[in-house]
């Protein structure tokens, strides 16, 4: 009984506080965003040095993890549905979970998906959620050990030049204390994405988001592994990787 009263009060409060949404909120639905890491529009093949960047370096990938956050859906009228920030942090792992499952989304038609790559320092840690992401990030080794911050991407593998011996490479990009912010906001348009209320059916909208891994090396900037095979807390190259990544997402419908 006590719990019920508390619950009722909480619910009434939540409703009372929620004055930025329209009063006749549509019934909610679900959306799965499936992140597909690709090169040349094909799923990644791990480990083998089967890829070549524009610097003519052959490379293979052993590990690929990154943080997606702050998911927002943009309606046809340009208004936004901001997914609850505290539930908005996802670890995407090429060899693990690659889906961001979103629930309780107002049924509506949306024209774009906005998300963050990494963790927005302006929301960290004051808005709830970022601190609760710490244990998961730590288990995935996405936390700098000596600093209180996240690695936004962990991208590791081997490369060779002119069929020479295999050399390890490692890109770890995050923000550098309060001095350098490598968080990126990404907006990708979708054509009239309809979120239906779940109702009695299990209506889950699903969209595949492609992350073109080749663009980590080659996009706005060109990064050569031979020039630098270990990029970590690197104020010159880490922002270049972050900028390249911000161009690498697209959606297939």
């Amino acid at each position: 009984m006590k719990k019920l009263i508390v619950l009722c009060l909480l619910v009434s409060l939540a409703i009372a506080c929620n004055n930025d949404e329209s009063t006749n909120t549509p019934t909610p639905g679900s959306l799965n965003l499936v992140f597909q890491n690709t090169i040349d529009a094909s799923p990644l093949v791990m480990n083998d040095l089967v890829y070549t960047n524009t610097s003519n370096e052959n490379y293979g990938i052993n590990e690929l993890k990154y943080i997606i956050s702050n998911i927002t859906l943009i309606r046809l009228d340009d208004t936004e549905y901001i997914y609850p920030v505290e539930d908005s942090y996802f670890l995407i792992d090429e060899e693990g979970n690659k889906t961001a499952s979103l629930v309780n989304i107002p049924a509506d038609t949306y024209k774009a998906i906005k998300f963050g790559f990494g963790v927005d320092p302006t929301k960290y840690p004051i808005e709830s959620g970022t601190l609760n992401f710490v244990p998961l990030a730590e288990e995935a080794d996405m936390l700098w050990s000596w600093s209180a911050g996240y690695k936004f991407i962990k991208f590791e593998g081997n490369y060779s030049v002119n069929s020479g011996s295999e050399i390890p490479f490692l890109y770890h990009v995050g923000s550098h204390g309060a001095t350098l912010d490598n968080y990126k906001e990404i907006i990708i348009p979708v054509s009239n994405m309809v979120i239906q209320s779940n109702g009695e059916n299990d209506n889950i909208t699903e969209r595949n988001i492609q992350f073109d891994i080749a663009k980590i090396f080659d996009s706005i900037h060109t990064l050569s592994l031979e020039a630098k095979n270990e990029i970590m807390v690197d104020p010159e190259n880490a922002p270049k990787i972050a900028e390249n990544i911000s161009t690498a997402f697209s959606i297939s419908e």
Binding site: V6, P125, I126, P135, P235
Partner: protein, 357 residues
């Protein structure tokens, strides 16, 4: 009627109140005098202090949150060996630093690379640790909790241990008004404990506030020397401009500490460390980021005669004749030490609210 307190607490924490101006409000009602309440604690900025940098409104310290933070602070369970708590290296009578080791000690007798910093007036700091590796107080504990040479634990393990504990789940409930032992709540409770550590009752504070204290002639002379020769970096009421500077300490084995460069990756930050607040400096020896200097007198001798040159040395330490250091006479050094001792705040050092036992 027991549930009423939770309703009220929940109302306060989750409620619509966008204004947190009324920070002294008691989260309780006259109807429930017998129940356990969770009063908001009085965090007030001393009149001679700058504004707080910590967002008190977003994590207002409460009686129960503070109590939880204090228990966490002194609990060895948070370390992998079940022994090394935060309070192991941060001892109240030494302004929450320690004296027995030059650098910090961790699990299995492991030695850290830096001198544990005192904890006081943290609500007024922009960044934390000697190199600013933590941009927020709420995240700072991640570093000592997970460092192999400190508490050597994972945050997931810490949360599991707290969940399995007899008392923590209830304390988390009482502090935050609902079920849940979470990382966020743990960090917020630790912050609630730490932001309340305001040291503002030294002789210097009373002098600044125009209260009934008088500096001795030596203290006053020292204050003037300080203002002229030290306050360009050790600026303001808290004696720090919160910048990072190379003060001419040689990089030495075994630590070979590159300073803030580790955080920013910038060569210009090589060998730079945070200008520390000098509050309670008399009892926070040894000094410098690696505790290499034992006494205040030796610190002043270092500043006049002990610096070594390097590219990032602060320009203020270059004399016209090419030598390095500040010009402070032996007499002025004695005066400076007398002044620095006016920064000791015995009320803070003995404040029962923060005491382990």
């Amino acid at each position: 009627m027991r549930y009423l307190k939770y309703i009220i607490i929940i109302f306060f924490i989750n409620g619509c109140s966008s204004d947190s101006s009324d920070e002294n409000a008691i989260v309780s009602t006259d109807d429930t005098p017998a129940t356990v309440t969770n009063a908001l604690l009085d965090f007030s900025v001393p009149t001679n202090f700058p504004d707080a940098t910590y967002s008190i409104a977003q994590n207002p310290p409460t009686e129960r949150g503070f109590e939880l933070g204090k228990k966490l602070f002194y609990d060895g369970q948070l370390a992998s060996d079940g022994v090394v708590s935060c309070g192991f290296c941060h001892i109240q009578s030494f302004a929450f630093t320690h004296h027995t080791h030059i650098t910090s000690h961790g699990v299995d007798g492991r030695i850290g690379t830096r001198n544990a910093q005192p904890l006081h007036n943290l609500a007024f700091m922009n960044e934390f640790t000697w190199d600013g590796a933590a941009a927020f107080l709420d995240t700072q504990p991640i570093i000592p909790l997970t460092a192999e040479v400190e508490m050597n634990e994972t945050i997931s393990n810490v949360i599991s241990k707290l969940e399995a504990d007899d008392t923590y789940p209830t304390m988390f409930y009482d502090a935050f008004g609902s079920e849940g032992v979470t990382a966020e709540r743990m960090f917020k409770a630790l912050s609630q404990f730490m932001v309340m550590m305001v040291s503002a009752n030294s002789k210097f504070d009373k002098w600044e506030r125009g209260e009934a204290v008088t500096f001795t002639a030596q203290e006053e002379a020292g204050r003037i020397v300080f203002d002229t020769k030290c306050a360009s970096c050790h600026a303001g009421t808290l004696q720090t401009d919160q910048s990072y500077r190379n003060n001419g300490l040689a990089m030495v084995d075994p630590f070979n500490d590159i300073g803030r460069e580790r955080v920013t990756g910038l060569p210009q930050d090589h060998l730079k460390f945070k200008v520390p607040s000098l509050r309670n400096i008399e009892i926070t020896f040894p000094y410098m980021h690696d505790g290499r200097i034992a006494t205040l007198e030796d610190v002043l001798d270092f500043y006049t005669d002990g610096m070594v040159d390097s590219e990032t040395l602060d320009e203020q330490f270059r004399r016209d004749d090419g030598t390095l250091g500040l010009d402070i006479t032996p007499e002025e050094k004695v005066q400076l030490v007398a002044f620095l001792k006016t920064l000791t705040d015995n009320d803070f050092l003995e404040d029962r609210r923060f005491a382990e036992f």
